[in-house]
Amino acid sequence: MKELMLGNKAAARGLYEAGVCFASSYPGTPSTEITEELAKYDDVYSEWAPNEKVAMEAAFGASLAGRRSFCAMKHVGLNVAADPLYTMSYTGVNAGLVIAVADDPGMHSSQNEQDSRHHAIASKVPMLEPSDSAEALAYAKLAFEISEEFDTPVLLKMCTRVAHSQSVVETGERTVPEKTYNKDIAKYVMMPGNAKRRHPFVEERTKKLTGYAESSGINRVEMGGRDLGVITSSTSYQYVKEVFGDSISILKIGMAYPLPVEMIRDFASKVKKLAVVEELDPIMEEHVRALGIEVSGKDILPICGEFSQNLVAKALGGEVHTGRSLSETLPMRPPVMCPGCPHRGLFYTLKKLNCTVLGDIGCYTLGAVPPLGAIETTLCMGASVSSIHGFNKVLGEESEGKTVAVIGDSTFMHSGMTGLANIAYNGSNSTVIILDNSITGMTGHQQNPTTGYNIKGDPAGKIDLEALCRSMGFDRVAVVDPYDLAACEKVIREELASPAPSVIISRRPCALLKYVKRKPPLGVNKDKCVGCKSCMRIGCPAISIKGGRAEVDETLCVGCGVCTQLCRFDALKSAEKEA
């Protein structure tokens, strides 16, 4: 049956048809929907793991046990899981093991623009790279075949425009191959003596995979006009096709690692001019150049950001479309915290108290944006908790009295706990605020070990954050409702002043959760409002100043009431009560 399908959903469909039985992932844009879609199949066990390393190791265990297994993550998640990946390359697999990794060129929702193909090369693990939904489905299935045939985990590389574009796919039936687990110490115990024997196996495997890249059809030549030949992959292939159709020749790469050699030599010999069109780093380009073949690439195309058809046309001499624009500069519309976001009250308070705020990864990173402008650092998952320790150790008491780390509940479970252990063990008087909104928010509401529910929404083990922090040696654990500004201020002042390290749990569910009841929108009593703009300091997108008075957008306001605590003139009221 033909269907219009999101790339991530198509990948999930391919995994399903290939008989995947076990999936463990940590959410991360743009990879999240693969696992969410797998969770909809009742005959696949799926779960959210606390982080990518745990997910990959769980998938490794399931592969050992003899069932096709899977894990997914965003590009930076693969850094977290790099440890098991690099050695799984040595052990190989029992049943097939596929790892989806989703890059984010253009950084739509990421903190860096790293190219995950480097991980494939460095770990010597083959990587497939689909260019649309149909290939996402086909390559997901193929990845399991390769995994079992060559005894290796296989990386399935998505990118934002493949993961989050819908295109037409044809679905098939599911078959479930099974294997049995057999004890094999020489293969699976990677102590030096065994690993020394496995490394040559990896090198030999890469040679065989290069042969596969040459002849299997995963990479294909589309001969057209011979004046220009382009080697390309992923979404870049689609841009090249959009601009040139069949008027040039294309070597379409479906396997990003290992790359073919003879195929490239042959293709290069048939065209007058050769170019590589690839987003981010010049990986294929350098491979071609290392073969002694003259090629252009990053000399005419950018290394930063996403490509598009106009960009490719401009670089390679195709037809460039142009539009028109208004003469004036339009105000930007950066992302902001949602109306009713529980983080808003907390950041307002931190800014008011002039705190130094070390931040982390999540919706609350938006606490760095004006007018809140509270957060001063964002590095990677868990870095707030680890870095406040180093910051306070260097700056001492003065810093300890005004510096906080903020980290979400899901990020805390991911890699905040180990940083907290360091604070407890090596003793800095640090204050850590866990922003517990009872969900993984940024990636679109995934459950995590603190929510009490699993990926299917069924009741599950629930980690008690207060008990956890106390058991790690924190005697001071306070819980506060971030909608209550006075209570927030009191608790933060107390814990910053305390002589011992502390954890503050700022607890209120994400305002977008379905079970959170919205209150009626607030209205402004125009007779009482004096236009002092005090309510504007919380940076709520529902409040604006119109004609010198505050105005609340009824389509946006969820009636959280945080703004009413800033109004000294009692001008903001529930429209319902006012009537």
Binding site: V168, Q238, G323, M332, P541, S544
Partner: protein, 190 residues
Amino acid sequence: MSTKNIMIVGVGGQGSLLASKLLGYLLMSEGYDVKVSEVHGMSQRGGSVVTYVRYGEHVASPVIDEGEADSIVSFELLEAARTLPFLKKDGTIVTNIQQIDPMPVITGAAEYPENLVEKLRSTGAKVDAMDCVALAREAGSVKAVNLVLLGRLSHYFDFPDEAWDRAIEACVPARFLEINKKAFALGRAN
């Protein structure tokens, strides 16, 4: 036929995902090759959101570039103006006249531009502007703005009423169907 391009733009949270889902369904059922591209994650949080819908005999790129959009469907006026460079020379903008202040305007760092509809028209762009919030309210929910806009957009296509009806029935949850059908009809009629 050559590939046709529809851009759906608005502010995160305004419901553009339903609009693109519905268009994708409609175009598939009319026998076209279709690609729909959207962005999830950070930018959904009240930022500018853009969805690309492309259809034709064979669609390659999942995105629409400057000067390529046959239609721009905009949930918010400033976003319509921001997307203007993507409009094809003879393209049409169908826009809600609702104005949502972006944070730089809220904080006073910038001003919301005045008379945007006139300014857009002065560039030679065809602009079909309407108060979709009022019509959605009339239909029974301010959240039905997306169906009002699609109703208006349907003027510019030759697809039969039944095709739109089937797409609405397939994409809208049953309990909201009546309101959404009414919103679509109001958009189409006005």
